[in-house]
């Protein structure tokens, strides 16, 4: 310690010594938590791991006990978790009149992938139209605003009904003779594009205007600036919220079953109607969890990576 610094010399007497605060207050020996109980909410260390494991076990134990001790427990276990029926609904038996839930899931996956690709394109087009300032595009801007307001406001299940039953009723030749899955995907695309276009728009707005100025000042056209400077930066910010929307989309493919398309949920319904047991729904639920959980963890991973990058950037 530098003994000559101001404050430690002759003026030191003007300041309170350690332990002598103004108003007779004292400085405690330690600012630790000793004597004030365990720090339940702070993380880190083997102690924290032990505490969190114990509390998880207690919670799980209580929930299991409630489930097992409930008056109707046996009934529920038989109706929803019957191993034999779960297996039967998993493999399916067309001769008995029901389909494999596992096989039907393949339709969900195909609908999800088709819808996802179309949503990414349509939503980007809508977002770019809404962001444009050209007077020529004014009618399209109004149209896309109405579109977004409408499809964000109407429940998805109504859109599926309207497309799935309305379009065939129009007798529009080729357009009106598609399968239920095609109409389902169309409804998912219409509804989700409205949401995803707003995600895109937030991303485009998050890129600072000075980036546009810098790109244009170099002689790059509006289009080139958008493609090489603005969009790459916007996409980076929106990947986590985008994946979040796609997690919902994966589940919402189950709604297409109301049109009669045999996807996992519909297959489970057919099984339960035939065998009078709901275990098939449990199988479908497990499948949807297996689909969405990896995507959810991947999204978390990207968010965490982004947070760390920002921190690293801020420390430069």
């Amino acid at each position: 310690m530098d003994q000559t610094q101001p404050g430690s010399g002759d003026r030191a007497g003007a300041y309170p010594r350690p332990g002598e605060l103004s108003g007779g207050a004292t400085i405690p020996d330690t600012f630790g938590t000793a004597g004030r109980g365990p720090r339940l909410l702070s993380g880190g260390g083997p102690r924290a791991t032990a505490i969190s494991s114990a509390s998880t076990l207690v919670v799980l134990g209580v929930l299991t006990a409630i489930f097992l001790l409930a008056p109707g427990s046996k009934e529920v276990r038989h109706t929803f978790f019957n191993p034999h029926d779960m297996w039967q609904s998993l493999i399916g038996n067309p001769r008995q009149g029901y389909y494999s839930v596992g096989e039907a899931l393949w339709l969900n996956i195909r609908m999800f992938i088709a819808a996802e690709v179309l949503i990414l394109v349509l939503a980007l087009v809508i977002a770019l139209i809404r962001q444009s300032s050209s007077p020529v595009l004014f009618p399209l801007r109004v149209l896309s605003t109405v579109y977004v307001d409408f499809f964000r406001g109407v429940p998805l299940i109504l859109v599926i009904f309207a497309i799935g039953f309305g379009v065939p009723a129009l007798s529009l030749g080729f357009v009106s003779v598609q399968s239920a899955a095609v109409y389902g995907v169309a409804a998912l695309v219409l509804s989700y594009s409205a949401y995803v276009s707003e995600v895109y728009r937030a991303g485009l707005n998050s890129v600072h205007r000075s980036q546009v100025a810098a790109a244009r000042s170099l002689g790059l056209s509006q289009r080139t600036a958008l493609r090489h400077v603005i969009l790459p930066q916007a996409l980076r910010t929106i990947i986590p919220p985008l994946l979040n929307d796609f997690i919902s989309l994966q589940k919402d493919t189950a709604l297409v079953g109301i049109l009669g398309a045999v996807e996992a949920n519909k297959a489970a319904e057919i099984f339960s109607d035939t065998v009078f047991n709901y275990s098939s729904y449990t199988v479908a639920a497990i499948f949807f969890l297996l689909l969405t959980i990896p995507l959810a963890r991947f999204t978390d991973h990207l968010i965490e990576r982004d947070r760390r990058r920002r921190l690293a950037g801020a420390m430069q």
Partner: protein, 266 residues
Amino acid sequence: MTGGHGAPPAVPGQAATPAGQAIGIEGLHKSFGENKVLRGIDLSVATHEVICLIGTSGSGKSTLLRCANLLEPIDAGRITLWGREITGPGVDQNLVRRYIGIVFQSFNLFPHMTVLQNVTLAPRKALGTPRASAEQEARALLSRFGLDDKEAEFPDRLSGGQQQRVAIVRALAMRPQIMLLDEVTSALDPELIAEVLDVIRELAASGMTMLIATHEMGFARDIAHRVCFLEEGRIIEDAPPAELFTEPKDERTQRFLRRIIAAGRL
């Protein structure tokens, strides 16, 4: 020297004999809503001439430069480039901007690209230069300004001074005939200002025509052929630095310089 500007070096400080008018600004007005930022600017910049714009923040220096690069549409008046009007209808803005480079106070490098990608983007996409030759030229420019080892870095790994030098190189890669510098050292830590000013000195020595908005009065005195003092959107005084800094004629210029001197900036 690899800039390829092909201009005979002019010696700063001496009365250059301009080969002709590069930029002509006549009766320029610009408002942002109710805020009249430029209220009738007349300015002629000769080829190889270096003009510094000084004045308080909000006097219109930056807006003037942004108008000259066509980043801001103007309300009245006209701007010409070698006698050809660039503010009228039917002008290819992207073509104009190939001749006029601009560097901003806040660098505005593209954060998702490496230094080399930042510098080569415009030559490749706007001029159609093949990647190999664009990169070769970019490397030559980077090495000319002491950035040899930085080509693979991303902007956030560079110091402010390095970022601003990259921004200058990025503008030069389009081989502009004129450079507009908008307070390029204002966002830098004091110890990083010199390296950027050195780069600008080198540009001036190579004969680059420049319009420089700056708060660095000592630098303006050294480098400029003419200094313009702006206040409330008008050019109050336009004179060689030796004259403007030692015997300013207008009372408003005198007041501004007194404040600058009091702040220890001159």
